[in-house]
Symmetry: D2
Subunit: 340 residues, 4 copies
């Protein structure tokens, strides 16, 4: 099976190249980038020199790609808005698309406009798209051909929370989420705020109270809770390259044992979820470079809250790793293929 | 005026030596350390080579120090429990003591036992001691001779919250606090968890739900609120040397304008507090090496919460800098003397 | 084929567990550690939680291991001196041993004593042992059953230099080598000098002029040059977790083109060596997590020197990765098996 | 005495503002920046919020500044080439100018062209300018009114080497210098190569064999040696914000005792130079935030070389701190004023 990565110049694109160039079940047929067309992938991604040989970026015309019979499967690592320009013709041509952008994560055009400040470029596709965190979905999405890969913060939040909300183990009201992201969360963005001397030894909040990911988080949590779910979401930047650390405070409706029973049931056969004992705290360092999500919880009897902590690698489980995991599941490959 | 630093081998001790060796109003008469007695201060603190000359650590017998007529003023940079061994005889001898440990931060022996796991070694002194954050106290404490310097996390929390609680601008109920500390918060502790490769590129929670500082935080917030105040306090370790970043979620009782009016009134003449405009986020990098506390707040109309952020340098405003600021105020020196 | 890792508690041991637990041609049959016997590997190496399942450290008696018929192949990740205690009985029992310590890197007992400050614990094995950098050796060593894996600094130095010395392209006289190592080069050592706050934002030399690795470097360079080769070797610590960056100044005997011709011939079929164009500088970041060595050179016409730069990941190409590469070659597995 | 900082938007400018806003002998009368004119200094330099109050960047017309009778003293923190546009009219108007750029560091127009790729914009001033490292110069330069402040690498190199070359203690031939700079050495440059994720955990060489600072280094070393001095200079980038670590290999002409005797004599009364015992290695961490240069040396009897190591803070002793030290000396202020 031939796959292409569209818009591969950034960090998520690089992780896709790393994984797919070694994947046992697929062939990396094309890596595209408008700005880098004609250049060697190895020059843009020197970390992959030993993997990519003479592979070269190609130009990326949506219609041409859609008409190419030799490529069946596309990963879009493009900015929101731009992703739709590719998803639309590819979807029409019957291709399978894993989209890492935000374009198909929301079901309501209105919310997309509110959070992304522009009309949705392909609203007719919103219904066709499936938003999937693999450990939280049943298998119905396997038939979808346009799959919206969840955002990094939302992944770290939904994995621990969704099973608990579904079972009423925590209250959907008053949830407070603090997340801390490594700098690669901003991608390969060249701006004064992201130069080394500005981020090193620096910790700060940003984007409060209405970070774009909030839209996606709330839609999914409400679906799980069958109830309104207005959360306080506080993102921060941390002085490290990779990783998201999320700490969630939620009102306990039952016991901590119930939290663990639910998690253990939900994630029993899930190779990438590690449920840590209460009192052992997940650490971004230990999931860096993996597709894992480590989670844990404690009960605070003084406040009546559960404090739930989770960590992921933002570029893997929070982006490219999860996208490949979705491909593996849809096509019946080993779930961990290319991801260990 | 001659001052001594007792137990100066750690990072807080080093900051005290740095500040007091250059302070215009005092003379650094002695720097003590049981383990380093006889050794050059410059060898333990190479960063201060240009400041300390041939200064040598002396031994530190409490009774001897108490009997020494030439030293009036003592800074204790000792572990809790040990600090009392010095504070007691020094206090009896009429000396002034600024204690950086936790020994005199709480007013109730019972709470000390609960949080510190041992009986208080000098409970008779609890009443004599004054716990002071200088920007939040009136001048009555100036007459005290045993001053408890607040902890690092508590300082970053009380400065923004106390004025708001006093005026009923936020609810004392349901406050959620997430704090992120640089590794120097653990002092110069030599343990596997603190070696470079374990902390670099690592973010994790610890000590939830009952970190020791919680006792001090709640006592002070309750005093400000005239009400029970059970807070959720989640401390974390961040991959940087210095700094605390605190993000607080509190139910709004009035408007964001009231928050700013109150802060502006409270901190108008306070040289170390910077009130940042709503939407500008405090950054640990910008207070590193200073005695400042930068604070800011936004109102989230979706949740009805204020999200309040603050940053300090944990070794300065969170420890040694604030201790010197207290000395400056008590003795009528310039408040910023030695601290710019 | 069953393999065991002896003394696996440190960072090199962890990399061996990571690689061998997924290696397509071998079975990881035992992971031993005296201090951790009976404990879960996942608890000591949380980064490997998804790979090691319930794998448990076992105790490690040399004679017992030697007598165990089910394990054929041993990786020793032990301190020098201790490694011999295992290598001796294992070798006698006909097992194959890949030793990551310094015990079998030198051919002369006298030099071992001079640099390691103790008599060699198993001098009778010195002759049997083969010291191998796979890209620089012909295949004769494949028959050896005791293989000394080179040190990290020496690997980064020999790969670029040995081919040039063999052909007389550089002078063996007056070579100056500066190397900079990430902190993991010190292993999991718990000491004040290695805590986060001491190493972060810190760059310093150490161990000049006679670092232990010098003995190994000079023996190998002299063998390549058929001449005396007394080098200036200056190791340093750099504020990063992984990586070695080496910069070598050597007197040019021919042209820079000859350097590249020689390198290109020597490394043509070597999957882990990247020869970068003159003027492109190797970067530790790009080899981190790989078994690669990137090398480059420029000619300085003003001084008549070549300046040669190389980078490796000290724990992989500088230790565990190279050890597995050696196993792959000896047993006819794919050279890159487990290492991409 | 009123001083102005011209072109203060970068990191060196920020350090000048920090120091001069608190300096006991001067008044900071103006801080200029073309791009930031009219904006608050505190917004560009949030770390200085407590020091700069409402201070605002002004526009910076050279002729206007030259005609302003109220300002006597100017610090130029401008790019090379641009600095001359200000130095020329200011010098003509009789002002004193401390220039932190490279424009007046070389005496030969031809060398400036070779290394900076442009004709010198004010060659008639080359003779008037004094290039001064204060610890290495006699007092004659005090009468100069155009002072060229040395570059960061050159400062770390000349301080240990110049006294040794003057006395013939090392050979001027075959000197090899490796220097490692924190990322702030590139200033506040916004480029992909300087974003956090590219520099974190990264060590690499650059600019070999002909970094611009080489011109300045060689001119000064030759002056000291009264002989040709062609050095091998290898600059590198290190993953830290501040600091330069320099390691120099030089052929010994006498004994290590002579090195120390010479240094001790030269630097006896110099408050910012710390001569460390042989075997104690300077560490960038310990000079960060100071105007110090720590130096040390060992003799390697195997190679006959001295290995000399030095460290500075590139923004202080390597730029702004040294500039203020020069001002202090020229005007008879305390040498350390504003710099402790």
């Amino acid at each position: 099976m031939n796959v292409a990565i569209i818009g591969a110049s950034g960090y998520s694109g690089e992780e896709l190249v790393r994984i797919l160039s070694q994947h046992p079940n697929v062939e990396l047929a094309a890596v595209t980038s408008r700005s880098l067309a004609g250049k060697l992938v190895a020059d843009q991604m020197p970390a992959l020199r030993h993997l990519v040989g003479e592979l070269t970026f190609s130009a990326s015309d949506p219609e041409e790609l859609a008409a190419n019979p030799s490529i069946d499967l596309f990963f879009l690592a493009l900015p929101h808005g731009v992703a739709s320009e590719f998803a639309d013709p590819l979807h029409r041509a019957g291709k399978t698309v894993f989209d890492l952008s935000a374009d198909f994560r929301l079901t309501k055009n209105r919310i997309y406009e509110e959070y992304y400040g522009q009309s949705h470029p392909a609203p007719h596709l919103l219904e066709a798209a499936s938003y999937v965190i693999p450990e939280l979905a049943d298998d119905k999405w396997h038939s979808a051909s346009l799959i919206a890969c969840p955002g990094c913060y939302p992944t770290s939040i939904q994995i621990p929370l969704v099973p608990l909300l579904k079972k009423g183990i925590i209250s959907p009201k008053g949830i407070v989420i603090n997340s801390y992201s490594g700098v690669s969360g901003a991608g390969r963005k060249v701006a004064e705020d992201f130069i080394y001397c500005e981020r090193n030894e620096s910790m700060k909040a940003y984007g409060i109270p209405k970070h774009r990911h909030l839209s996606e988080i709330e839609e999914q949590l409400e679906k799980a809770a069958f109830a309104d779910c207005v959360v306080q979401f506080n993102p921060h930047l941390a002085p490290m390259s990779r990783g998201i650390s999320t700490t969630i405070v939620a009102k306990a409706e039952t016991s901590i044992e119930q939290v663990y029973t639910t998690w253990n049931e939900t994630f029993a056969e899930k190779p990438f979820i590690c449920v840590l004992p209460s009192g052992t705290y997940p650490d971004t360092k230990y999931v860096s470079g993996t597709n894992r999500c480590d989670i844990s919880a404690v009960y605070d009897k003084r406040t009546g809250n559960f404090v739930i902590t989770s960590v992921i690698d933002n570029l893997l489980k929070g982006a490219s790793g999860q996208a490949v995991q979705l491909m593996n599941l849809k096509y019946g490959f080993e779930e961990t293929a290319g991801l260990l």
